[in-house]
Symmetry: C2
Subunit: 300 residues, 2 copies
């Protein structure tokens, strides 16, 4: 039997999985992200037995970025200019494909998560555009449009949207090293930790920081609705799991749009429109399995 | 010989064209947008002779919106909830297709303009995503992603992005009836007229309004670059034609992005990245001809 591999490559940990689908995962391992050489060696070690006996049909990589996704570029498959020490200009895709000798699919962690939510969840199948937003330590956006992930000059970077910032109400200057008070600068988990002196997991439900947080996320979603006209939005990441946050965001999205888009989905069924991930915190890894399956099928 | 028809349907005027390509336009007529019945009668009258003798292969419509572009919807091809008196819930596509008895392609004026710039200009052919932004009385965004126009729940509405608004520097409250100080509320031609008491055509080059205008357009473009990662941006519309505006916008886009996306296109060649329309003010109409050609070819 053929199996598929998934690599979820994050700034703090890597997750490797072998399996065929969400209900048939044969092996899984997580390890810290150290140097590229050591980390990629562990990845290869994980998959080698399957590759050696010809069982590994393909691997999908869901990676932190920024990435070069342009297949015509000499640095296709590289992690490019990350601030993560030692990881700039690393040929993640090429190294793994060369050493395992199997086809390897490659995309951002958030595009993979969008792909996974759409591929594995029957209710999401034909919804296009399809959006996956993660609000955790950072903020990322994955987009499927016209059946494929959005790439282009680079890939979506909706985490860095410029947004209205009411300095009187929120004098915090933001944490983005490039833009200060962009979306990620104002609403990431990191920004909450810096602004309130405690991480979002420890911020009490009654803390006014949650009101501010749902305001910023809702504003960002309004901009994304105007940009992509998505048919579904998945709101994932650790911060989004705070009780009541998704519900507050839905309310405020309606309020901020103020009836501009007369769609029953927005006006009456927003509870079905903005949803937590059906795959929990495994959308990215399971998306990588899906990417591997699609790549293998295309090469048959 | 087969010919193709184009209808550019605007809130103040309609343009009808018959031809085969930008260098072979056989007949063109413009008339004011009055009632739907009178206006559509004139459209039919314009094309009827070509349809009668079987010469009209297909027609493309580039329309003001909002539009229903979902082919599975019972109101596909309608202008939906426009504030333009008498034009809400008008079956523009259906009426014209039924009366002319030819295949009719249908999209927003801005998607058609993006399509036209990409279809007719060889240098733009493989650039994807491809963006067309018009800044005139209103602000609209057309997007080609993964080879097709972006539709979805509705269509792109990037004119209504929420943006940072520095109330101290610009105490103007904005003109958008839905959002007040969204992009269109702060930077459309209409907003300039209301803010400064004179229309943008009459605002002197030295007026501080132009500084503010290029700031807002640049902020909007930064958000669009983060949203779509486009490979080219066409900046059209009457306001964008103000001398120096495109140049100022390019500078400020670089400044606001602050090196976040390390692409040589943005860092070194932004003069080739943000461009005025190669087809002048005819991108929409010539895009409708292109849409008609593609539809006819698909039906062969």
């Amino acid at each position: 039997m053929k199996v598929y591999g998934a690599i979820e490559s994050g700034g703090t940990k890597f997750v490797c999985i072998v399996g065929t689908d969400p209900n048939n995962l044969l092996k899984e391992e997580r390890f810290p992200t150290t140097t590229p050489q050591e980390t990629i060696d562990r990845v290869i070690g994980f998959f080698q037995p399957y590759a050696d006996r010809g069982a590994l049909a393909a691997v999908g990589i869901a990676s932190f970025g920024p990435l070069d996704l342009n297949i015509a570029s000499p640095t296709y498959g590289y992690i490019t200019t990350t601030p993560k020490a030692g990881w700039s200009q690393i040929n993640l895709h090429g190294d793994i494909q060369r050493r395992l000798q199997v086809p390897v699919a490659f995309d951002t962690d958030v595009n993979a998560a969008a792909f996974g939510e759409q591929y594995w969840i029957p209710e999401h199948k034909l919804l296009d555009p399809f959006l996956y937003i993660t609000v955790g330590t950072g903020i990322g956006v994955g987009v499927i449009v016209n059946k494929f992930p959005l790439h282009g000059l680079m890939h979506a970077e909706g985490g860095h949207f410029a947004l209205p910032h009411d300095w009187q109400r929120d004098p915090f200057q933001g944490v983005c090293p490039y833009h200060g008070d962009c979306l990620e600068g104002l609403a990431s988990g990191l920004s909450m930790t810096k602004r309130w002196g405690q991480s979002p997991e420890h911020l009490p439900d009654s803390h006014p920081g949650w009101e501010l947080e749902s305001d910023y996320i809702a504003l960002a979603l309004v901009n994304m609705i105007y940009a992509y006209s998505p048919q579904r939005i998945i709101l994932g990441g650790g911060v989004s799991q705070h009780p009541g946050l998704v519900q507050a965001v839905r309310c405020k999205v309606k309020q901020f749009m103020n009836g501009y888009i007369q769609s029953s989905m927005l006006m009456e069924r927003i509870d079905e429109y903005i949803l937590p991930p059906a795959l929990g915190n495994r959308s990215g890894a399971l998306g990588a399995i899906a990417m591997a399956r699609v790549l293998a099928a295309r090469l048959l």
